[in-house]
């Protein structure tokens, strides 16, 4: 029964949280209010911290974590599958429509305008990632020079060497440990 409720709650979350990432958060708060035996607000705050530092989409991490807390391994898997099911269905439908109309002038025109809009939106999220990762949560804090040095070296390496992103992530972790970030 719990599994069924879990499935339904996460399906709803997946269906209505538009825009990804932390967009699932308000739904999880509501879920916590509705099922106080599942997790508390404090639990949720811990979950966000964990989900942000482990690899993978935050929404997926959150649903696995919540599901496994409530109903074990099976709960984690069920919650995650329920979360992604609505978007798989919606995107498969849109992908099919797009395929049909990919040569239409209207679709081409729309994407011609949307691509730069995405660049602008990405710029905004990159800024907020910078703020939390390089400036310790607030631009006013200033930047740790060791962080800045690593950042500069990596940017240079990334543009010059064109190696796989995993390499730079590994270097970041190593330097972080060696220099005690």
């Amino acid at each position: 029964m719990t599994l069924l409720t879990l499935c339904w709650e996460f399906f709803k979350t997946g269906l209505f949280s538009v825009g990804g990432g932390l967009a699932t958060l308000p739904f999880l708060f509501e879920m916590g209010n509705k099922h106080p035996d599942w997790f508390s607000v404090q639990d949720l705050t811990n979950m966000v911290a964990v989900a942000e530092s482990t690899p993978g989409p935050i929404g997926v991490n959150m649903s696995t974590y919540v599901g496994s807390t409530v109903a074990g391994v099976l709960g984690g898997i069920i919650a995650t599958l329920s979360l992604i099911l609505p978007s798989i269905i919606v995107i498969l439908i849109i992908a099919r429509i797009l395929e049909k109309f990919s040569d239409s002038k209207l679709v081409k025109d729309v994407f011609y305008g949307l691509r730069p809009a995405v660049v602008g939106m990405l710029f905004a999220s990159v800024l907020s990632v910078f703020e939390s990762s390089l400036f310790g949560g607030n631009f006013m804090n200033g930047v740790d020079l060791r962080y800045l040095a690593l950042f500069a070296v990596l940017v240079f390496g990334i543009f010059k060497l064109k190696k796989h992103p995993i390499l730079y992530i590994g270097i970041g972790a190593l330097i972080g440990i060696i220099f005690g970030f």
Partner: protein
């Protein structure tokens, strides 16, 4: 069958090495999907992101479904999506009980601080590549600038930005074609 396995493998890697979620997947996506396998162009990734802003669900999942569908229809979409979520599910399930403790260790904190600096550096290049594929002329430069300004300062909802941009662009293209038509006459 081989391509399905490749899809799963690539998206598994993307899921395993995306720290921070959402747009943070772009550097991995660019390397695996655009450069290595040529499953999609940077323009198409950009299109998927725009659609992902207005459709339900996580951007990473939406993009995986799109790329998978493009290669192998419905089954491709499903396999790619399962690939991108599997690492998170495994990691969280294995670590669920001890996650709180792990992040207390200084060495883990240091490693993650270093990783997040690396993610910043990777995002600079991803943004650069996305800009090169999307900003082609004066109009698209203005759209990018406006979108950045309203996102940073007004914190407008991405859905609103996408919808308004789509409408304005269609009008702009219509007027442009009319003006060209008049000039020809």
């Amino acid at each position: 069958m081989k391509e399905l396995a490749e899809l799963f493998k690539s998206f598994f890697m993307i899921g395993a090495f995306t720290f921070g979620g959402g747009y943070a997947m772009l550097p991995m996506l660019e390397k695996e999907v655009v450069t290595k396998h040529k499953w999609a162009t940077m323009e198409e990734i950009s299109n998927y992101f725009a659609i992902g802003q207005c459709t339900p669900g996580i951007i990473a999942v939406n993009t995986a479904t799109f790329v998978g569908y493009k290669q192998k229809k419905n089954i491709g979409g499903i396999i790619a999506t399962l690939g991108v979520v599997t690492p998170s599910v495994i990691i969280i399930l294995v670590l669920a009980g001890i996650l709180d403790i792990i992040f207390e260790y200084q060495i883990v904190k240091s490693a993650f601080a270093g990783i997040s600096v690396a993610v910043c550096a990777l995002l600079v290049q991803a943004l650069w590549k996305l800009a090169k594929s999307g900003v082609k002329d004066v109009y698209t430069a203005i759209v990018a600038l406006m979108s950045a300004i309203v996102s940073v300062f007004l914190k407008l909802s991405p859905i609103l930005i996408v919808v308004v941009t789509a409408i304005v662009t269609v009008c702009y293209k219509y007027i442009q074609s009319r003006v060209k038509g008049v000039n020809k006459q």
